[in-house]
Every structure is written in C-alpha cells, then in structure tokens.
C-alpha cells in the first residue's frame, strides 16, 4: 500500500511534468533568464507579490485564529464560518468587486443608466453608426456634451485611489487567501495538548503562553500555510492581470500561449521552481528539530484568554472589519452587479454548474485515498515534502500539455476522450494540497495505535478503516473541503483538457466576464460561493458533534 500510494502520486502528478520539462530542456534558455534584466525585474516583482501576500496573510490569519480559538469573543462559532467566505470567492471576482467599490466603475457600466440625450441619439443613429460611409456625417451632426466627464468617486472614498499597482494586488490577494492560514492555524491550535497549555498557564499569563508556547508549537502548520499562500499568490493570473501587474506567471503564460514557445515558458518558470524549493528547505530547517508532536486529549473549545468588555469589543470590531472588507464588500458588489439575474444565469450556465459540482465532489473524494496513505506512510519524511510539492511549481498550462502527451494514446482513449482526463488533471494539480493539509493530523496519530491493532491480528486495511480513518476524520474533512474548493475554482487546466461537450463553471464565468457580461458573471459567482459554503457548514457541524480520543502522546 505504501508503494502503491506513492506510485499513484508519481504517475498522476509528477510524470506529466517530467515529460514536459525533460522533453524541452535547453541550458541556453535557462542561462538567458538569469542574465536578462527585464526577467530579473519581473522575478523580483513576483517575489514581492508572493512574500508580501504571505506576510499579510499570516498576520491576519494567525491573529484571527488566536482570537477565535482562545479568546472569549462573542459569536465565535458564527464568525468562524464567516471568516472563510472570502476564500470561496474567485480572486479575480474579488478584484473586480474591489475596483467597483472604490469607484472604478467600468464594471457596472453595463447597467448604469445611459445618458438619455446620448441614448436617444444612438437609437436614432444606430442604423448609420456602423455604416462607414455615413459615419463621419453622423458624428459631426451629433451634439453631445463637450465637457470631459470623469467617473464620480463614491462618497465614502475621500480621495482618488490608483489601484493598478502591486500593493493593491497584495491587499486583494491577501483578503482572498488569508483564510488558508486561518484554517490551518485554527485546527492546529485546537489540537495542541491541553496539558501542556495548562502547565504553562500555571507559570505565565495567557498572552505569554500563546506567544511563547502555543504559537511556536504550531509554527510548522503556520509555515506550511504560508507556503500554500505563496504558491497560490505567485501562480495567480487573474489579479495581476486586472491590476496590470506583470508577474512571472503572466510572462510564462504569454510565452506559452502567445509565442507557442513551450521550452522558453518552462525555462521562465524555473526561478519560481527554485524559489519554492528554497522556501520548503527554509521551512524544514526552521521546524525540523521540533522534539514533540502534540497529541490532543480532546478538541473542545478552550478559552484561555479572558478579555475585558472593551477588549472584547475591540477584538470583535477587528474581526468584523476583516470579514467586511474581505467578504461582505465583494458579496454586496456581486449582488448589486448581478441585478438578480439568477434565472438567466442558470439558463446560460446551469449545465456547467452541474459539471463542476460533479467533478469537484468526485475528485475531492477520490483524492483523499492517496492523500491519506501518503501522509500516513511518509509523515516525518522531509525528503518527500519536496516531491509532494513539486507538481505545484509548474504552470497549469505545462501540466495540461504534459497530460495530453501522457494520456492521448490508443490505450487510454476512454480517459482522454472523457471528463476523466480533467479529473486526472485536478488530481495532479491539487493532490499535493490535500496531502499537506492532512499531514499535520496524521502526524498526531501515534504508531502504537497501528501496532496495537496489528498485534491483535487485524490487517492493515482493518486498522486503517476502524482506527486510523476515524482518528484522522477532522483532517480528512478539512482536506476534502480544500480539495473541493480548489476543484470548483480551477480554470487554467480546463482550457487545456476539457473534453468536447463538457464545460466547467469557472470556464464559463471567466468567458462571460471577458465578454463584459458582468451581470451573469456576478450571479454565477454567487452560485459558486453558495455551492462551496454548504459543504463547509456541513463539515463544521460534523466536526463539532463528533468526539474522539487519542490514547498516548508520542515523541
């Protein structure tokens, strides 16, 4: 089973990329990218974007996780649900919403009331406007306002904002991605052995205990979440595109699709590959010598930070502000922009919605099988981390072309000619995330549990089914949710691998968005948010009503 699990990962995730990179290796190309000044500048900008987003996400995610797990903030259970909604909104949709909110209202131009005078002249001239021979006459005879009109700034924005820069890209990406840090930090905090916390509280005040004991203990999870955020941030195409910030990923995309230069595109991705590898190494060095892995006795809420009324109000205001900026503003803008055209949206994209729902449920569920075994068998194996994260480094387009090369043959036609090739693409792309999300929970299952079961005569399959899976249930649920969200939002692979007659919802949304159909795009985005919120709520309910016990701590 150990070998089978890693073999499936290698075939699904690593082989397509090995096929691509191996087939297009050229030393000259790699040398060029390090010498070219423009590429250096783009690389620096990309690192700034990635690391800036990580820093802000960690500040937001950890602070909110500490408040919601340890402080007696009112309405905590509701806030925990609301805080992750921004993760469910596609980043480019969040970007558009923010631009609309600050007054860059080209998005809402579609249904802003047109100038009546102009509209009536357009209607009168419509038959002539597009006729080139009468166009000039038509224009000269038209009497329109001659004073240039600039878009009005909303009353709540006191000064003009220029959002088309990297700092705004970092802010928007952070508002979308900080829930990743929050989720992993939150679960890690809940899983700290309460005996250690109790012992520390005897000697130190709660804040010091959190700062000097709890947070250092969960540093691996925080760093892993930061790494995930970094990968998402530097891989993102939508936000940099909207904010007009050219990143390495966009450069790779342009070379891949505009120049049809696969080798150059792959070479351009190398600095990202190297950066991510270095970050993994740094994370390993910082956390590798941790002697203890905490095993929880139970996972009930543990309030250790009693706040005064003023402090509670401040804490609540802080969290509500984050929720308002990251989730409420985009949702309000989406609702307004949708013009309540939900029925029309369903008519245009109802089949795409079903396709994405089915594919995401299937992939996120199937993904758990290899993820479970890999994270169990290889927990603590630092070398495996590099292999597990390696598929994330390459652009989706490269993975897509690699998959076509691997799966488009006579023996696998049933895969390539059907939705299965897209499902395999999702597995390849997102299995690493699922494994990483599950690993901290698997590391807390002591080896003695399995050994006891085997000593009692049970097979590994029985031990896994009856003992390991129930123990790992919180991790399995969160890993499933992460896989589901990622699959529902995936766009780039779909273009390369979608079989004929099958279209995914993000593909449809993105296409409609670029046509300028913001109304339908907004309505469909609201559906997308709703589709992902429901499983999340279900998991929260399941997690809070289940109990489990782990017998021993393990060094």
């Amino acid at each position: 089973m150990k070998i089978l699990s890693i073999a499936s990962f290698l075939i699904l995730s690593v082989l397509p990329l090995a096929y691509m990179y191996g087939g297009h290796f050229n030393l000259d190309r790699y040398a060029w990218i390090f010498k070219d000044v423009r590429q250096q500048s783009i690389f620096e900008r990309t690192m700034y974007l990635g690391l800036g987003t990580v820093l802000l996400c960690i500040v937001l995610g950890v602070s909110v996780a500490v408040l919601l797990e340890y402080a007696d903030i009112p309405f905590r259970s509701y806030l925990k649900v609301l805080i992750i909604i921004s993760l469910l909104i596609p980043p480019y949709i969040s970007g558009i919403s923010f631009l609309t909110f600050i007054g860059k209202n080209w998005v809402s131009a579609e249904f802003r009331e047109p100038n009546p005078e102009v509209a009536s002249m357009v209607r009168r001239d419509r038959s002539a406007v597009l006729n080139a021979s009468s166009l000039q006459n038509s224009l000269m005879n038209r009497t329109v306002a001659s004073v240039p009109v600039t878009p009005k700034r909303p009353w709540y924005i006191p000064f003009d904002i220029d959002p088309y820069n990297i700092e705004w890209a970092i802010l928007i990406l952070s508002s979308c991605l900080f829930p990743i840090v929050f989720l992993l930090t939150s679960f890690a905090l809940r899983n700290i052995d309460s005996r250690m916390v109790d012992a520390a509280l005897l000697l130190q005040p709660p804040l010091k205990v959190i700062w000097k004991v709890n947070l250092p203990m969960i540093l691996p999870q925080i760093l892993v979440s930061g790494l995930v955020v970094f990968i998402f941030a530097v891989s993102e195409l939508g936000i940099p595109s909207i904010m007009r910030v050219n990143t390495l990923t966009m450069e790779v995309f342009n070379h891949f699709t505009g120049f049809f230069d696969t080798g150059q595109a792959l070479a351009l991705s190398f600095p990202l590959v190297a950066s991510i590898a270095l970050l993994i190494l740094a994370a390993q060095l910082l956390t590798g010598k941790k002697p203890f892995i905490s095993v929880p006795l139970h996972t009930k809420d543990r309030v250790i930070l009693k706040l005064s009324r003023a402090q509670k109000a401040l804490g609540l205001a802080y969290i509500l502000l984050i929720i308002f900026v990251s989730s409420v503003i985009p949702l309000i803008v989406l609702i307004i922009n949708s013009n309540y055209a939900f029925v029309e949206a369903l008519e245009k994209a109802g089949d795409s919605m079903l396709n994405s729902l089915f594919l995401s449920f299937l992939c996120s569920s199937v993904m758990l099988v290899p993820a479970f075994f890999i994270s169990y068998f290889y927990k603590g194996d630092k070398g495996m981390d590099y292999l597990i994260l390696s598929p994330l480094i390459a652009p989706s387009a490269a993975l897509g072309i690699g998959m076509i090369g691997i799966w488009n043959n006579d023996y696998t036609s049933i895969i390539y000619g059907s939705f299965l090739v897209l499902a395999f693409g999702y597995l390849a792309r997102f299995l690493p995330f699922t494994i990483k999300a599950l690993t901290p929970f698997m590391e807390q299952i002591p080896a003695s549990v399995e050994e006891s079961g085997r000593l009692a005569g049970a097979s590994f399959a029985k031990v896994a089914a009856d003992i390991l899976v129930p123990l790992a249930k919180p991790g399995l649920l969160i890993a499933w949710l992460i896989g589901f969200i990622l699959c529902m939002r995936e766009l780039d692979l779909s273009v390369m691998l979608t079989p004929p007659g099958f279209q995914t919802l993000p593909n449809r949304i993105f296409t409609l968005y670029h046509y300028g159909d913001i109304k339908t795009t907004s309505a469909l985005s609201l559906f997308l948010v709703a589709i992902v919120v429901i499983p999340y709520l279900a998991i929260i309910i399941v997690n809070n009503t289940s109990k489990w016990h782990i017998s021993n701590s393990r060094k």
Binding site: W106, N115, A132, R142, N408, M496, P500, Y515, G516
Partner: protein, 343 residues
C-alpha cells in the same frame, strides 16, 4: 459517518460517472467534434442550428476570452499525433496559418469557399475565411468632443489622451494580429516608433477587447482599440460610446479585417461530418446569421444579405497586407511589444 449514507453517495456517484462517461463508452459515428475560438454566445446558436438541420450531434470545446484562440491552438498542436477534433473554428487567421505550418490541418476545398475572396482563403484549401470583424477605435462620447474624435490610429499618440487610451494584451488575439499587421505594413522601424510613442503616451494594457469596451463605456478610458463586435455590443446597449473605422480617409492605411476561419483537422475522426460542418459554416445562411447577430460580422461571400448597420467589405478601406505577411511578422512583433508594453 453513517454507512448507508456513504453507500447511497457511492451509488449516486457511480450513476453520475456512467452518465458522463456514456458518450465515451459508446461513441457515435453521427457526431462532429469542433474546437471553437469564436465567442461562444455567437457560435453556439450556429452549431445548434447545424445540429437541428442535419441531425449530426455537435460536441464543442470553447476557448476562454482571455486565452482566446491560443489555448485551443496549443491543444491542437499537442494533439497532432492523435487528433480529437474534426474541425477548428478560429476567430482570426494568423494562428490558422501557424496550424497549417505545423501540419495540423488537412486540405478541403468546400463549395462554400468558391465565393470568398482569394485573399481570405488558402490557395491549397487548408483554410477558408468567412464572417469578418474589423479592428476599430472606440471612444467615450461624453469625454471626447466629436471634433477631437480619433480618425486614425496615429491620433492615439495625441498627448491630450495621455493615460486614457486602452488596448488589449498585444501578445494575444486580434490585438496581436493588428500589431503584426502594422509591422508588416510599415516595416519594423516605423512600427516600433509608433508603439514606443504609444507607450510614451501611457497607453493602458487591459486583459481583453471586452475590457477595453467596458472601460471606455465607463469613462475610465477615453478611447481604445477593439473589435467591431465589442464596440457594437456597447453601442447597441445604449452606452455613451462611438465607433470609428480608423484611417478611412484618402492616404490612410485602412483598417484590418479579421475573418473567422474554418479548417479540417488532419486525421479527423469524423471526416465526412466535418466536411458537412465546414460547408455549413461557409454558407451564405451562416454569414447572414452572424451579420444579424450582435457580433455584426461582415460577410465575405458575394451577395450575402446583411442589415444596414453592417458595412460591406467593398465600402471599407482595408489594410493592404496579406495574411501570410501578418503571420510572418507575428513572432518578432510580439517579442517587441511584450518587451515594450508588458514589463
């Protein structure tokens, strides 16, 4: 979790999987697979009409606007040794010629190609152009006086419009074609000077022609380069914009025409159905439908009925540049423009 609940879920998934796999498990001969780069909202109705008229099932793969054309072109090249598609309906010509050069296409001289101008079809029958758009300028009528409205693409260099002119990603799609056409027409030096001048005038690069349209309609940009279908979408929507076919005056270089193109894929699994689809797309009926749609596409066929608001190609001054010259300029123009405007 309740075992029965899990069991029901597994059965439901199995049934859904069989449903989705159905076509692959039992492939039909009476179908045609088409990759489409033309906007889905305009192309899908045409394909549905073909299904209705012929009884041949159409399975389509649509590109996204942001990766327009190039995503599917990459896929066709990758699938070359074992093609999945029968027909490719492209929305321009340069990447069509690329596919021919890469050996992805098979010649087919459709009867529908007979009435198309020679300059918009391959002499050996590898591809045929139909239902064209044109590159145009769009400007906001509330922000730009009619006397100051641009008439030529050179007017976009006017310092009055500094920071207020928009273009789509010049490495992709029809904007990329226009850049290549100017390189071919003017020569590299003059073209580079022009685009350097645009950069000096702080031109804004946005993701797509649709975004150019939206931002001009909202007044965030005053003018921009886009395609006729995008401009028409805003005009028919009552937005405060107007459209100009650039450089129509005496001595002007004319505008770039961008026909759709259709082609047979080499080794197509359903050759006969593919030829029927190509014939259908090149028919005057299809060209008329596309001219009457919001896409307002210009028919290339002789005598094709079209509404008054769609010009005939004879009434337009067109850029005097061959599609093969545009294609041969594509790589070097894209390299220059990417270095210049996307940094």
């Amino acid at each position: 979790m309740n075992k029965y609940f899990v069991g029901v879920l597994v059965i439901l998934f199995a049934l859904a999987t069989i449903y989705y796999l159905g076509d692959s498990l039992m492939p039909s001969e009476n179908e045609v697979i088409v990759y489409v780069s033309h906007d889905q909202d305009y192309s899908e109705p045409i394909l549905k009409d073909f299904e209705k008229d012929t009884g041949i099932k159409v399975k389509a793969v649509y590109d996204t606007e942001a990766t327009k054309t190039v995503g599917l072109v990459n896929r066709l090249i990758a699938e070359k040794n074992r093609p999945q598609a029968d027909v490719f309906w492209n929305n321009e010509l340069s990447r069509t010629i690329l596919l021919k050069e890469k050996g992805v296409l098979s010649p087919y001289k459709s009867s529908g190609a007979l009435d198309k101008p020679d300059s918009y079809k391959d002499p050996d029958g590898y591809w045929t152009g139909f239902a064209a758009r044109a590159r145009v300028m769009i400007y906001n009528t509330q922000s730009v006086k009619e006397t100051e409205a641009p008439k030529s693409i050179n007017d976009l260099l006017n310092p009055m419009w500094r920071g207020k002119v928009g273009i789509a990603n010049p490495a992709l799609g029809t904007t990329g074609d226009q850049v290549a056409a100017l390189f071919s027409l003017w020569g590299d030096d003059v073209a580079k000077r022009y685009f350097t001048g645009l950069k000096g005038n702080d031109v804004k690069v946005v993701e797509s022609n649709g975004m150019v349209k939206n931002q001009v309609a909202a007044g965030e940009l005053y003018m921009g380069l886009t395609d006729t279908d995008d401009a028409n979408d805003a005009i028919q929507g009552g937005k405060s914009v107007a459209m100009v076919y650039p450089d129509q005056r005496e001595g002007g270089i004319g505008t770039l025409l961008l026909p759709n193109s259709v082609m047979l894929i080499k080794g197509a699994p359903h050759q006969e159905n593919a030829k029927k689809l190509i014939d259908y797309l090149l028919s005057s009926t299809t060209e008329e439908k596309l001219s009457r749609s919001k896409a307002v596409q210009i028919p290339l066929g002789k005598g094709v009925p079209h509404p008054d608001n769609v010009p005939s190609i004879e009434s337009l001054k067109l850029m005097n540049v061959s599609q093969y010259d545009v294609y041969s300029s594509l790589n070097r123009s894209q390299e220059f423009i990417t270095q210049l405007l996307i940094n």
